[in-house]
Amino acid sequence: MAPASHISFEQRKGLALRLIALPLLHQHEARLLHVGAQNDLQLLRSNISYLAGEAIRSPNSEHLDCSLKGLASKLFTASAPQLAGSFAPRFSPLVTQLTRQMNALSCSTCSGSPSVCDGGQNDDALVAGGGHCIGLLRQLFDVALLIAQNAFQRYLPAVSLPAVEFSTAHFNQKPHDIPVALYCGGKTTFANGGNSVVQLHLTPDVLDWDTCLACLYVLVHECFCHAFYGARNPSQRDVTGNDDPFTEGWMDWLAHELLLQNLNLTQGLPASGTEFARIATIFTEARSRYRDGAEPASKHALSRALGKEAAIKMHELLKRLLESCADALEALFRLSCDVLAEGFRLEKHENFVYAVNMGLPSPGEVEDPQQFANIPQRVRMYLKNNYLKTLVT
């Protein structure tokens, strides 16, 4: 089986520099701004961006680690004015850390052999096995996958989950139409063997710290909302598409909740859980904002909003039912993972979301037992005997 595809060798040369630099710049930013070194900081950012652009034009014969070492030397030279200026004592540790990390990356250590990436057909396998040059992205994926796997194993312990591979791809423009300045997106596909492939989409030219933070939310969304779709029968599944209100709205609302519950797993990543949570909230809200603001809404916003609304209504119902009120969110997670793992077709997902939206009151709306009896009855039956077919018809 072919290894999952990754960002091309030439693009990774520039991306590696950005992925080393962005966490360090973030780490030092407040201290530098506090002493008034914003111009020097801006200059350093510009130099890094320029060098990353230069890196992607380097020939394939130059290995990635050699390219980074050359860039480290150039960056050090270009930073001479800041290293000699009035902010030098604050600036010097940043430049030292940056160049040290750039010099430390070793392609042969990453591959564990003399055979390293060279723009050829082996590259994807090498990145899949090591991928030190995109180490931060791999770390984020590992955390996201762990969060999603833990949830499915908790709520559906009897279901064996398909393996999930990590893939990356680069875009020239923002890889989605959501009105938010975050330059990452994702896609999950299903390989013939039954594995899921989660692909992270990035626009390297405009990669910034907020986008790095957003990658965690995107990857949690892909792993939780898509990778285990149809897990009970992984060899026969097909994607349900971007207009699926259940995966894109309902499950996304839960993916955000799940991320907030698991911020402790972000320890070891170069940002605090609060920072990841802040960006995740911005991203998930923008996805389902269907009224045009400064930018037009995403073309899938309405179906996402409907899915999200249905999930919230179901949560409210589970809070009211005796069978689930002790922990309504747990009950909602279990029900939702169960529906996803069953692998219903798009039409069934749509019908389910529609039925919940029509059959349950909005938060605050007065309950009418005549109007709102059917869905609670079906949910009660599900809670009693786990029979999905009465719930999703």
């Binding site: 030439e10 057909q121 791809a169 875009f171 020239n172 890889p175």
Partner: protein
């Protein structure tokens, strides 16, 4: 054999044709990785060996429309070798272009005509 229409992507027609020139040159080299890749994917290259690129595959804009949503990029194949070149485009050239020039080098395939 029908042409393939795509939504306008991040790269213009002139650049796409230049990229195709470069890929075609590489394909004509018997020792090239691209040729090996095409052969490994089962593309029969005999009929296109030595053929000028623009006699096999061309890229053009559908119209001069102002709105990129309604205009399209057309990838056209010469009728004599259409089946082979279409195979080549879908399985070798387009994946290579998307990988090296960005996934959004071309928009989504349009199926409405």
């Amino acid at each position: 054999m029908a042409d393939i229409r795509y939504a306008v992507g991040a790269v213009g027609v002139r650049d796409l044709n230049q990229e195709l020139d470069s890929l075609w040159r590489e394909l004509q080299d018997p020792k090239s990785a691209l040729r090996r890749e095409a052969e490994a994917k089962g593309v029969d290259l005999q009929k296109v060996s030595g053929l000028p690129r623009n006699e096999a595959i061309t890229v053009r804009q559908e119209s001069e429309g102002f709105d990129p949503v309604t205009t399209a990029i057309i990838v056209a194949f010469s009728p004599v070798v259409a089946e082979i070149v279409r195979d080549l485009w879908r399985n070798v050239f387009l994946p290579r272009l998307r990988k090296h020039k960005g996934q959004d080098v071309l928009g989504e395939e349009k199926k409405d005509k």
